[in-house]
Symmetry: C3
Subunit: 148 residues, 3 copies
């Protein structure tokens, strides 16, 4: 199951005209991107029913120097950041990791372009392969996507 | 310290008659299950004072195809999912991983049986062994459970 | 990018005189500690712009035996816990892991000393090295801290 979890500073939860961003639309764009991924043989990288994106604004956060450099540069000194982590199952090729990563990264860069131009914000995207020692799935969702 | 973290779609936070579930009772059932685990020698797998379960509904989420297949199947198109991750210390046997995983999985399947029958929901449980390079514990909780 | 994520029981979100703690000030103290870390050669361990601390109270939680031992000991039976996880990039030395871990641990012990004396609380700090298979950074924050 590919799970993409997004952790971010709470100041991004504000309306767009106050420096925030629409995280729900980012979640949907990332899910669509994941569904669209294909491997070297043209097969879907992820089962549709397994694509899951979750976003969590922190209750409290601290970034870098607390704002001193941002104020010195003439800004508000209020920083923001976003950490995106995709955990996928083991065993896919480095080429697939790279192509999935690049596709998600393009999606992220597109989404945050307006904020990157307007405020001090850092965005990090990482992909991990799961190394779980136990795995279990119970689902009434996957059967919707089984091939007939 | 065994930490079990539960991440899930916010639609599960609703009352049960609106498609949600009682996550607090699930946390308690999982903690009780963890406390009850025994290894091959009959000893507790986890120190009682170290058992910790935390549940976090996402602020935003996107699942699978966004609902198209669910609506085509005559449902609301509203999917739900739950991701449970137990991180435990290194060094326990594969047999212990399996028995702990199966015990938690039974607990999870029992809890979600009504929802699995009523809505499109996916539940994934994984166990990781921690690979930390630094570990520190400070506790006024553990002394409660020391053997005399 | 060093990301320090703090997960904790929601009872710590209360005012200090009701058994809670000021997590915002802990985030800031930990960020300052991370910025101050130096390696064996005297260089900063972390890029200033990459230091990020996020704190998340759980919506639901269960700890240990649910409170029985705490009540038997004459307390309220209400436990609390905090899990701090720092994920840093691969490749730093064991000595750096140890010195960073000890510095964060001192910060944590100082912050929680009053609560450790007053209530049943467990605090765990772990450091992981990231094992990501893809990594991307997009930032309007880092340029603030580039050397001229």
């Amino acid at each position: 199951m590919p799970h993409l979890t997004i952790l971010y500073t709470p100041n991004l939860e504000r309306p767009a005209d106050e420096g925030g961003t629409d995280m729900q639309s980012l979640c949907e764009a990332l899910a669509n991107t994941m569904v669209a991924q294909r491997d070297e043989a043209g097969h879907p990288v992820f089962p549709v029913g397994g694509v899951r994106v979750l976003a969590y604004p922190a209750a409290h956060a601290a970034v870098a120097d607390g704002g001193a450099a941002g104020r010195a540069a003439g800004g508000s000194g209020e920083y923001a950041f976003v950490y995106l982590n995709l955990r996928m199952a083991r065993g896919r090729s480095p080429a697939v990791h790279e192509s999935v990563g690049n596709a998600l990264d393009s999606c992220v860069k597109h989404h945050f372009a307006p904020l990157l131009a307007r405020r001090h914000i850092g965005v990090t995207l990482q992909i991990d392969e799961g190394t779980e020692v136990f795995n279990s799935r119970t689902s009434s969702l996957h059967p919707l996507f089984q091939r007939g």
